[in-house]
Amino acid sequence: MTHELQLDRLGKTFQNGTPALDEISAHIGAGSFVALLGPSGCGKSTVLRLIAGLDEPTRGRVLWPSGRAALGFVFQDPTLMAWASATRNVSLPLDLAGRPAPEARARALTALEKLGLGAFAESLPRELSGGMRMRVSIARALVASPDVLLMDEPFAALDEFTRSRLNEDLLRLWAERGFTGIFVTHSVFEAVYLAQRILILGGRPGRLVADLTNPAPYPRGRDYRTSAGFNALAREILDVLEGVSG
């Protein structure tokens, strides 16, 4: 089950009076993969937090035409409980929802195996590499089968190789599970590789400056990263971003 959502003239001014977001309106279709792209400080993460309900908008609202969706959230840091094993970290959403412990554990193990971490189920976060920790974080976000997966620059701190591996894994999971994906990034290439649609935010306070579609079909293999279509779209986005900052 996937959910569409509607951002209706969303605006946010922080408590200290700093305006963060101007009027953002967009419809995000069920099961789509959308990238929110823009320079640092343009309010991308704020949009994500408003969608997640972690912050309240000052103006406008987030609408869920087909009912409030179950959400998964991946932060920029893995945000793991340092004292708990990978399995216990992943089973957290199920534990909090009151699922029986054996079921939660079994589903957590399956989620870890999906991300290639079956052998590290009992490892503590400090025993894992940065990329592995991020995989645990993704497994946790997906374990309760969310309708919408929100990701806030999840791979920004990782090396290029790990990052592209995780991008491929993410697309594979999206194809399998069919959730609606909203991915915040400041990497043009990541946005183009992952998304069907790229919303470009810019300015202070942040506003929507472009809404681009990426028609390239999935699965997108490694070759796509070096294709003409990829480069043309990246070029177009870079031009838009140039215009915003200039």
Binding site: L71, F73, F75, T79, M81, L92, P93, L96, S129
Partner: protein, 260 residues
């Protein structure tokens, strides 16, 4: 080699000091009411074992009770502070005032209030006050140091307060709390001894009272014996609390081996 030296050197130094002490007392003819020889202290331990150990037990009982009370009440108040800023704003000035007022200056008042016939209760209250603040301060700091993203995650999954408390707040605060608890153990003992001195009454019957009593009678060897017992008790408390800390934290908080 290095490890063996680490054990041998302090023991060797101790033996040398004890030997020099005995030699110096004899050589310079230091009167026993100034500095008794080590042998005399050993004799006190043997002859007065019953009264010394009884006193040690009294002091230890009060220290341990005050410590447990401090841990429970300090953690409880810290939890209240963490869940209500208003409560913190209202109560924390009083907690700080209680802490910065020297315990010895409150002692006479507390003793008057509870009555000299219940001096043990005054000692318990004063030891508790001494040990309370480090627990409160460390638990409050620990509860505030929770990763804000994890807090958001718990909110996102609509965790109840008991769930958040047990699964997030307690484990996050634990390293801070245990550091405070270690300090509190030592301070409970200090508070108990200071209060016994202030009460200066046979009703309390603890090790500090033995020190006062022996001092009044110029039984310096007995003073030393009581002093040594207090030091050993302090070391024991610290060692036990350090072990508990290691037990609870070494797995996820210990050495930072990581797979690159």
């Amino acid at each position: 080699m290095m490890r063996a030296l680490r054990v041998i050197l302090p023991i060797g130094l101790f033996a040398a000091l004890i030997w020099f002490w005995g030699w110096a007392v004899e050589h310079w003819r230091i009167p026993p009411f100034i500095l008794p020889p080590p042998r005399a202290i050993l004799e006190v331990f043997v002859n007065d074992a019953q009264s010394l150990l009884g006193s040690a037990w009294t002091t230890f009982g009060i220290t341990a009770t005050a410590f447990v009370l401090a841990v429970v009440s300090g953690t409880a108040l810290a939890t209240l502070f963490a869940s209500s800023r208003l409560a913190e704003a209202m109560l924390s000035p009083y907690a700080v005032t209680l802490q910065v007022t020297p315990i010895i200056s409150i002692a006479p008042l507390v003793i008057v209030w509870v009555g000299l016939d219940q001096a043990w209760l005054a000692v318990l209250i004063l030891a508790w006050i001494s040990a309370f603040f480090p627990v409160l301060a460390s638990a409050t700091a620990g509860l505030k140091a929770v990763d804000p993203n994890l807090r958001d995650l718990f909110r996102l999954y609509r965790a109840s307060f008991p769930q958040t408390f047990r699964r997030l707040l307690v484990p996050s605060a634990l390293p801070y709390l245990l550091a405070g608890i270690k300090t509190a153990g030592g301070l409970a003992l200090i508070g108990a001894v200071v209060a016994e001195f202030a009460a200066a009454s046979g009703n309390t019957n603890g090790l500090a009272w033995r020190i006062l009593e022996a001092g009044n009678r110029l039984q310096i060897a007995k003073m030393f014996a009581a002093l040594i017992l207090l030091a050993l008790m302090g070391i024991l408390i610290y060692a036990v609390l350090s072990f508990i800390e290691w037990l609870l934290l070494h797995r996820w908080h210990g050495d930072t081996r990581s797979r690159a």
